[in-house]
C-alpha cells in the first residue's frame, strides 16, 4: 500500500529532477547564446503577466471574494439546521435566528374544514411541512417556505435554489417541486501556500464539505381547520 | 652592420650559446664602437633594452652592469647610465685581448688539425684581411 501511494510521487520527483538537470546543465555544454536564454525567460514572464491581467479582467468569473465559508462555519450551519428541524418534528418550532430564512410566502383564503396536504411529487422532492394552528378562524391559510443555507465547498448557493410551487385547490394543498437547479462549476485555488494564511482550508485538511440545505414549509391554518397528510403540528416558541 | 630599429629582435639569437646578457652588452659595445651612441650620451635603459630584445629587464640590467663594471658606462644618479669618454678604447682593448685572441686560438687549433702550415695560414689571413679592408671602405 505504502509503495503504491509513493510511486507517483517518486515518478514526479524523478521527472522534475531529470528535466531540471537537463534544462539547466545542458546550458553548460550545449552551444547556446546567452541572449537566447534571456529571451525565452523574458517572453515566458511577459506571457504569464498578460495571462494574469486577462484572468483578472477579461474573464470576469463568478468571484467569491471573502464569501468562502469555512468548514467550521459550514458544520455550524448544518448542526443548527438539523437542531431546528428535529425540534420541530418533536412539536416545537424554535426561534429561527437567521438559520432559516423565509424565501417565499403565500396567503390562501380557505373556508373549508379539512385540508389535505399533497406533497407527493414525481420529482422526488420532499420538504417537511410544519403546521401551526392559529388561535382564531380568519379564513386564511398562510404558507411560507423557509430555507437553510446550501453551502457547497464553501460557496453559498442558497440563492440559486427556488421555492416550491404551492397552491390550494378545493381542500387540497399541493406542493410542487421547484425548477431543477443544476450547478456545474469549476473551482480554482492558487495552491496550498495561498490557502494557508487566508483562512481557507489548509493543505492537509482539505475535504470537500457541503451542507445541502434543509427546507421546510410552515403553514398557519385557521383554528378549526383539520389537516391531514404528511406533516407535523408544531407550536412556535 | 647592425640593422637597428625594424626587427631588432632578430639580432639576438637565443639559440646561440652566449648568454643573452652577454649578447646585450656586446650589442651595446657595437653601438658605441659605431658611434650610434656617443660619449657622455645616455644609453638605453634596462626597460628599453628589455622591450627591444624581448627579454626580462633584469637580464638587460645585467648586460648594462657588465659594461659599467668595465667602466665603459658610468652612472649618473637618478638619470641612468652614460657612455664614458674612454669607452671606445676600453672596448677595443677588450675585444683585442679576449675576443680576437680566442678566435685566433680557435683558428690555430683548426689549422693544426688540418695540417695547415704557419706560413700558409698567415698568408690566408693577410689576403683576407686586405680584401675585407677594401670592401669595408
Amino acid at each position: 500500500m505504502v509503495l503504491i501511494s509513493l510511486l507517483p510521487i517518486l515518478i514526479v520527483i524523478l521527472l522534475v529532477a531529470g528535466i531540471g538537470t537537463y534544462a539547466f546543465k545542458s546550458n553548460k555544454k550545449r552551444h547556446r547564446t546567452p541572449k537566447k536564454m534571456k529571451w525565452v525567460v523574458g517572453v515566458y514572464f511577459i506571457l504569464t503577466l498578460v495571462a494574469a491581467v486577462l484572468s483578472y479582467t477579461v474573464f470576469p468569473a463568478e468571484k467569491t471574494e471573502s464569501k468562502v465559508i469555512s468548514k467550521e462555519k459550514t458544520s455550524q450551519h448544518d448542526e443548527a439546521q438539523s437542531k431546528i428541524i428535529n425540534s420541530a418534528i418533536n412539536g416545537k418550532l424554535p426561534n429561527l435566528n437567521g438559520v432559516f430564512t423565509k424565501k417565499e410566502s403565500w396567503n390562501f383564503p380557505f373556508n373549508g374544514k379539512d385540508l389535505k396536504i399533497s406533497n407527493k411529487d414525481e420529482q422526488d422532492y420532499y420538504a417537511n411541512v410544519f403546521v401551526i394552528s392559529k388561535p382564531k378562524d380568519d379564513g386564511v391559510i398562510e404558507a411560507a417556505h423557509y430555507m437553510g443555507k446550501i453551502i457547497i465547498d464553501g460557496v453559498d448557493f442558497t440563492e440559486r435554489k427556488g421555492s416550491p410551487h404551492i397552491n390550494v385547490n378545493e381542500s387540497i394543498l399541493r406542493i410542487k417541486a421547484p425548477e431543477l437547479v443544476d450547478v456545474n462549476f469549476t473551482r480554482f485555488s492558487e495552491g496550498f501556500a495561498f490557502d494557508q494564511f487566508t483562512g481557507r482550508q489548509s493543505m492537509f485538511s482539505r475535504s470537500y464539505f457541503s451542507v445541502h440545505g434543509n427546507e421546510f414549509i410552515l403553514l398557519k391554518v385557521p383554528k378549526s381547520v383539520r389537516v391531514n397528510g404528511d406533516f407535523n403540528y408544531v407550536n412556535a416558541e | 652592420m647592425w640593422c637597428v630599429g625594424g626587427d631588432v629582435r632578430l639580432i639576438l639569437n637565443s639559440d646561440s650559446m652566449k648568454p643573452i646578457y652577454v649578447q646585450v652588452s656586446e650589442w651595446l659595445e657595437t653601438e658605441i664602437l659605431n658611434e650610434n651612441i656617443k660619449c657622455d650620451e645616455k644609453v638605453y635603459s634596462q626597460y628599453q633594452l628589455a622591450e627591444m630584445f624581448n627579454i626580462n629587464p633584469a637580464t638587460a640590467a645585467k648586460g648594462i652592469n657588465i659594461l659599467a663594471d668595465e667602466n665603459v658606462l658610468y652612472k649618473k644618479r637618478g638619470l641612468g647610465m652614460f657612455v664614458a669618454t674612454e669607452a671606445r678604447e676600453i672596448i677595443l682593448r677588450k675585444r683585442k685581448n679576449t675576443k680576437l685572441r680566442s678566435m685566433v686560438k680557435e683558428l690555430a687549433k683548426e689549422a693544426i688539425q688540418l695540417n695547415v702550415e704557419e706560413e700558409e695560414l698567415l698568408e690566408m689571413i693577410r689576403s683576407l684581411h686586405q680584401q675585407m679592408k677594401g670592401d669595408l671602405k
Binding site: M37 | S14, K18, I55
Partner: protein, 298 residues
C-alpha cells in the same frame, strides 16, 4: 618583500606526495618560471599558492598569510589556467566587465584592445571557444587584472605559435610598464626563458633548483670527446647527463664548478667544451635517468 614563502611544504594525495618538502621564496616584482615535467607538481603548487588547495604539512605564506580560503590573497592574486570556469550565461564582453568589477587595478582599455586584437566576438559565450581561444581569453583577463601576484599555469596550451609570441611579448611589455610578481609555469623552458628573471625547477614535487635564469645558463657545461678521456676527466665531477656518440665518443654534461685551469686541461687533451642551454639543463636535470630515453633502448 616576500610574496610567496614556502617552508618544507608537502602536499599528499593518499600516500603519494605531489609536493615534497619544498622550500623557496619568491620576492616582489619578479617573473619566475616554474619549470618541471608533466606530473612534477607544478599545478598542485600553483593551486596551493592561489589558495585553492590546502597543504598537508610545512608552511606556505602568500603576502605573509596562509593563502587557503583567504580573501586578501584572492583579492590580490589571479590564477589563470585552462580549467578556469566561466558561466555560459555571460557573453565574453560581460565577462570582461565582471572581471573589471572584481579587480581594482583592472585596465579595461588594455583588455578591450587585446580582445579586439585577437578578434574575439563580444557576444560569444566562453564555452563555445576553442581551446586556444579560451587560453587567449583567460590570458587577457590575467594581464588586464594586473594583480600583485599573477599566476599563469601553462598559459599557452592550445595557442598557435603566433599567439604564443604575442602573449609573451604582451606579458613582458605590460610587466615593464606595471611591474608585479608573475609566476609562469611551463614545461617548455625555451619558449619562456628570455622573459624570465628566475627559474624554479621541480621534479617529483621536490625543488631541483631555484636561481636567476642567467646563472642557470652557466650552471653546467658539456664535454665531448673520446669516451675514455671524457670519463677520466669527469670522474671527480658531478655528472648530470651522459650520452654515447658513435663508436667510442661520449658527451657528458657536468655541473660547472671547475676552474679555468681544469677546462684548459680538458681542451688540451682534445675534449670539446661547450655551454649547455638552459632548456637542455632542465631536461637533463628532470630526466628519469642520467642517460635519458636512450636508457630504455640499451
Amino acid at each position: 618583500m616576500k610574496v610567496v614563502e614556502c617552508k618544507e611544504l608537502t602536499k599528499r594525495y593518499g600516500k603519494a606526495k605531489a609536493i615534497n618538502n619544498l622550500s623557496f621564496e619568491l620576492t616582489e616584482n619578479k617573473i619566475t618560471g616554474l619549470i618541471g615535467r608533466n606530473g612534477a607538481g607544478k599545478t598542485t603548487l600553483l593551486k596551493m599558492i592561489a589558495g585553492y588547495l590546502h597543504h598537508t604539512s610545512g608552511d606556505i605564506q602568500v603576502f605573509s598569510e596562509n593563502p587557503f580560503n583567504n580573501l586578501k590573497v584572492s583579492a590580490n592574486s589571479i590564477f589563470i589556467d585552462n580549467g578556469m570556469s566561466f558561466s555560459p550565461s555571460l557573453t565574453l564582453e560581460e565577462l570582461l566587465e565582471t572581471s573589471g568589477e572584481f579587480y581594482p587595478n583592472w585596465d579595461q582599455r588594455l583588455a578591450k584592445r587585446l580582445f579586439d586584437y585577437f578578434s574575439f566576438n563580444p557576444l560569444q559565450s566562453h564555452v563555445n571557444l576553442s581551446k586556444g581561444m579560451k587560453s587567449t581569453f583567460n590570458m587577457i583577463i590575467g594581464l588586464a587584472a594586473r594583480c600583485p601576484l599573477t599566476i599563469f599555469d601553462e598559459p599557452t596550451s592550445g595557442m598557435d605559435a603566433g599567439t604564443r609570441k604575442d602573449f609573451y611579448r604582451a606579458l613582458l611589455k605590460d610587466y615593464i610598464a606595471h611591474p608585479r610578481t608573475i609566476i609562469l609555469s611551463s614545461h617548455l623552458l625555451s619558449e619562456v626563458e628570455d622573459i624570465l628573471e628566475e627559474i624554479l625547477l621541480i621534479k617529483n614535487g621536490e625543488k631541483l633548483l631555484h636561481m636567476p635564469i642567467e646563472i642557470l645558463k652557466e650552471y653546467s657545461i658539456g664535454i665531448s670527446g673520446k669516451a675514455t678521456a671524457v670519463s677520466e676527466w669527469t670522474s671527480n665531477k658531478e655528472t648530470i647527463f651522459t650520452q654515447s656518440i658513435g663508436v667510442d665518443g661520449s658527451y657528458v654534461v657536468i655541473k660547472n664548478d671547475c676552474s679555468l685551469r681544469d677546462l684548459e686541461i680538458a681542451r688540451d687533451i682534445g675534449l670539446e667544451v661547450s655551454s649547455v642551454s638552459a632548456e637542455d639543463v632542465c631536461t637533463y636535470l628532470t630526466s628519469k635517468t642520467k642517460e635519458g630515453i636512450d636508457h630504455v633502448f640499451n
